[in-house]
């Protein structure tokens, strides 16, 4: 069946597919919650000004200045040994990745909001719109347009970074491949399958992001 000899069985393929599913689930959950928190943090940071937002900025900056691997190990050690909670690695992984996503997302949202001309917002307010109306009907729709390409990049980045959750005992795609490699001793073939999976998801979406960026920057 294969174009060259491999000891890979159907069961192994199912095992790999499960890993791929885990990668997608962790990514989806983290991007979902991370984006919601990121939008909230981004608006907050913009709204209360740089001085009051300093503590939030500092905390979010920490997530971007420390390797994700260490964040995961640290969070896992804190929750399970320091607090003594019984929590699955999956939960820890999703929580850390969500916060990690929100740190980057807040930056993107803030950039998007700041790119909306302040005069436009003042015009909206002087027409009698409330802050909330201005936010929901004027500022956020425009900011979303500006932020979407970067957000797509972020979501793809999170998918690639989710490969690190193996460190809290979550078996995602790359880890399941590694387990099979240890058993089958066919590193090249298995790694290529993995790489192809990431590439086939990431490449078209990245292209779409690039297309939107070009299309929306010329008007």
């Amino acid at each position: 069946m294969m174009f060259f000899d491999t000891a890979l069985t159907t069961n192994d393929l199912i095992f790999l597919a499960r890993g791929a599913g885990m990668t997608l689930v962790v990514t989806a959950i983290s991007v979902f919650f991370g984006t919601i928190m990121g939008i909230a943090f981004g608006i907050l940071r913009h709204q209360i000004g740089p001085w009051w937002a300093a503590p939030l900025t500092l905390v979010l900056d920490i997530f971007r200045s420390i390797p994700l691997l260490i964040q995961l190990v640290l969070a896992n050690a804190f929750v399970t040994t320091v607090l003594g909670w019984r929590i699955s690695g999956f939960t820890v992984a999703c929580a850390v990745l969500s916060l990690y996503t929100s740190a980057y997302c807040a930056e993107i949202v803030r950039g998007g909001i700041e790119a909306v001309p302040p005069t436009l917002r003042r015009a909206a307010r002087s027409l009698g719109l409330t802050w909330r109306q201005d936010m929901t009907s004027v500022t956020l729709p425009l900011a979303a347009r500006i932020a979407l390409p970067s957000w797509i990049g972020l979501a793809l980045g999170v998918m690639k970074d989710s490969a690190l959750v193996y460190v809290v005992q979550v078996v995602e795609l790359l880890k399941s491949a590694q387990i099979l490699i240890t058993r089958l001793q066919e590193p090249l073939f298995l790694l290529l399958i993995c790489g192809l999976f990431y590439f086939l998801i990431s490449f078209p979406i990245a292209r779409l992001g690039g297309y939107l960026e070009r299309k929306w920057s010329n008007d």
Binding site: P67, V73, K160, A163, I181, P187, G195, S202
Partner: protein
């Protein structure tokens, strides 16, 4: 408050070893940036060359580097090349993996930067008698590097963070490797990794701040 005895003193005893690890981390990051920038310039030249084969090579490199996890790339260098009988040390695998990643991202940044440099400048340089290579070397490249200074700083921070991935190829001399080695012996996971996190934070902050100062100093008009 917690049902856990923090033993910071014990963990802090290992600080000198961890700082040595931090030096290795910094060394790998700097080397990977130097190699990455050089390759990215070459890839940019490939794209500008007009040769279809060369631009295809450059695009393939950039797309693979940007669309697969860095962890995968490091795996591939270590275990993938191992499949061909090329066995590299953990240090080299990590360095090559990160440099490959850097080159891909930086080449894309350079491409964006080139858009900000008018084509007419190249033509002017050519009509002054410069060869294409000279025009690139003396007119385009300095501006390209200047425009991409900020993305390059970001990439440097990424490179520092990526060194932690060396653990998958059994690298044990960098900051993450040293920390997890110590952890395997003492099991003070939280304390040790908290210290490592602080060191990483300080390193990345130092890099971004000094880059900002350098930019203010270098790019005054």
């Amino acid at each position: 408050m917690f049902n856990y005895n923090f033993r910071w003193a014990q963990a802090l005893n290992s600080l000198p070893r961890m700082l040595e690890g931090a030096l290795v981390t910094l060394e790998v990051a700097i080397l990977s940036m130097v190699i990455g920038i050089s390759i990215a310039v070459i890839l940019t030249l490939f794209r500008l060359s007009g040769s279809r084969l060369l631009s295809a090579i450059a695009s393939t490199w950039v797309e693979i580097a940007r669309n697969t996890p860095a962890l995968f790339q490091i795996y591939m260098v270590h275990f993938g090349l191992g499949g061909f009988g090329i066995h590299l040390s953990p240090y080299l695998s990590l360095l090559i993996g990160i440099a490959f990643n850097n080159a891909g991202y930086l080449a894309e940044n350079f491409r964006g930067a080139l858009k900000g440099i008018p084509e007419t400048q190249t033509r002017a340089a050519r009509s002054l008698g410069m060869t294409p290579v000279q025009a690139f070397r003396y007119v385009v490249m300095p501006q390209m590097l200047r425009i991409s200074f900020l993305p390059m700083t970001n990439q440097m921070v990424w490179a520092i963070l990526m060194t932690s991935l060396g653990t998958v190829v059994a690298m044990n001399t960098d900051l993450y490797g040293v920390t997890s080695d110590l952890n395997a012996r003492t099991f003070r996971t939280f304390e040790l990794f908290a210290i490592a996190a602080v060191i990483f934070y300080l390193i990345t902050k130092t890099v971004t701040l000094s880059a900002r100062l350098l930019a203010a100093r270098l790019f005054r008009y």
